[in-house]
């Protein structure tokens, strides 16, 4: 579905990533796992056209394109809910800005509110609900983009452990129920193991894919799955190896 071919980005003369390759298959849940500050978010910014890439190209279903602006939905760590709108109006923003039929969009958003456990909170303001509910609303808004690819930039990292666990199942729902292709950034190994079909382990700057793991265990997964434990040990080994190399 998406091929990232030899993309390069420099910042103040230093390569953030250089000739980076990534292939994202349709319907798959891909996770970019790596240390903080290695350039994962910069890659997303480049892919979405926030700033231009300095080299490489993107292929979308085999066709070249400049950026994913009109092809991907993007959900960030911050929920980015506007305080002057209700939760429902926030979720309807993609429909409002794209000129969709508002009645149909509202019906769809209401269905999603019900599905994601927000029914009854449609008219609440963002300040009136918990962090977990705000992220659910951001998730509804992400679905309202109505795009095949969803980019998730550490969407759960600001939440407490219990809320995060309940929202992980919703992220999984994006793939299983809404048939989205997902590319998610995280530095939480267990989150990656629970959700991903493929984990791309990223190295420190200049960022590159240091290892690629394909996870075939059925979902939903449990932490005590021996296959996952084995991958976790390998990932930790790899990350610790990377850190010790950096410190030398």
């Amino acid at each position: 579905m998406l091929e990232v071919c030899s993309v390069t980005k420099y910042y103040q003369g230093q390569a953030v990533f250089s000739k980076l390759d990534l292939t994202v298959g349709q319907g798959r849940f891909h996770v970019l796992l790596g240390p903080s500050g290695c350039g994962k978010s910069t890659l997303f910014d480049g892919l979405t056209g926030v700033f231009p890439l300095d080299g490489g190209r993107l292929l979308w279903k085999g066709e070249p394109l400049a950026d994913l602006r009109l092809h991907a939905a993007y959900m960030q760590q911050k929920d980015l809910l506007l305080p002057w709108f209700s939760l429902l109006d926030n979720a309807l923003l993609p429909a409002k800005t794209s000129g969709r039929d508002m009645k149909a969009a509202k019906d769809e958003a209401c269905r999603l509110f019900e599905r994601l456990g927000l029914k009854g909170y449609e008219s609440h303001g963002a300040h009136q609900v918990s962090g977990g509910m705000r992220q659910r609303c951001a998730l509804v808004r992400t679905l309202m983009f109505d795009r095949d690819l969803v980019l998730l930039d550490e969407p759960l990292s600001a939440l407490d452990a219990i809320t995060r666990q309940s929202l992980q199942s919703l992220l999984l729902m994006l793939q299983t129920e809404f048939k989205k292709t997902i590319l998610m950034i995280t530095h939480d190994i267990e989150e990656a193991l629970l959700l991903a079909d493929e984990i791309h382990l990223m190295s420190a700057r200049p960022m590159a894919v240091s290892r690629h793991y394909v996870l075939s265990s059925p979902k939903p997964r449990k932490f005590n799955d021996p296959d996952l434990m084995a991958v976790k040990a390998q990932v930790l080994d790899q990350l610790e190896g990377g850190l010790s190399r950096e410190s030398h």
């Binding site: 979405t48 602006r69 991907a72 993007y74 911050k78 305080p83 002057w84 800005t97 303001g125 300040h127």
Partner: protein, 248 residues
């Protein structure tokens, strides 16, 4: 919101008390400095005479405010949308504040006549700057992450303006409006001093020439009351329009 500002009320009471006591102890003639009690008395008893003048000045202030808001909003939007326009207009905006309004008043009376137009224009010159600059800064202060979100939604500039930038900038707009309301009377009164047949400025000049100092102060008192009322009204308007501000 506190209905009564007790520290300010106490300070005013102290100043007025000291003024009253000083004038009486020193036996100052009324035409040099009338005591506050005399000013308040004159402001109330001569209200039928003062009111028509106050109405003219109030109308000039309101028209100046309306004109300033009506011109500052589109100009700020244009300058925000096109930074080259901001570069072009900025020197003129600054110059409009650098030139003393006293210097312009006689010219405006010559060009626009002794009627209301010259006073409205004077008020406009003074009010326009704080409103347009505050609004422009409000637009610019928008969180870049929200801009990215709207960009990814494929929102047009108009959509982004109405759904994001405008509500985002509203608190700054009202801050500018409050400053404008506070100084609006200056422009109108200066215009009336230079050449008018009605208005509180005209009444002040007339009364001063007749050594009716208490009436001069009474006119100032009316002008102050008008300014405070407008300032308070702006605050109420802000609370009504930016409901979400007090809730976040």
């Amino acid at each position: 919101m506190n209905r009564i500002n007790f520290p300010a009320a106490l300070l005013v009471a102290l100043i007025l008390g000291a003024w009253e006591a000083g004038v009486r102890l020193l036996s100052l003639p009324v035409f040099i400095l009338p005591p506050p009690s005399r000013i308040i008395w004159t402001a109330l008893v001569r209200a039928p005479d003062i009111f028509p003048h106050a109405l003219v000045t109030f109308s000039e202030i309101l028209l100046g405010l309306g004109l300033a808001v009506a011109t500052a909003i589109p100009l700020s939007i244009a300058m925000f949308a096109k930074p080259s326009l901001e570069k072009a207009f900025s020197p003129f905006l600054v110059a409009s504040q650098a030139i003393p309004v006293f210097a312009l008043a006689p010219l405006l009376v010559v060009w626009l006549g002794y009627g209301m137009a010259s006073k409205v224009f004077m008020a406009w010159i003074i009010i326009f700057f704080p409103i347009s600059v505050s609004l422009l800064e409000g637009f610019k202060s928008c969180d870049p992450e929200f801009r990215v979100l709207f960009r990814l939604m494929g929102a047009s500039f108009f959509n982004t303006l109405t759904l994001l930038y405008w509500p985002w900038a509203l608190p700054r707009f009202f801050a500018g409006l409050r400053v404008g309301v506070g100084v609006a009377g200056i422009g109108a009164v200066i215009g009336e001093w230079v050449g008018a047949q009605k208005g509180l400025g005209f009444l002040m000049i007339q009364s001063n020439a007749r050594l009716q100092t208490d009436l001069v102060f009474a006119a100032i008192l009316w002008l102050t009351a008008m300014g405070l009322a407008l300032w308070h009204f702006t605050g109420i308007l802000e609370t009504i329009i930016i409901k979400w501000k007090k809730e976040i």
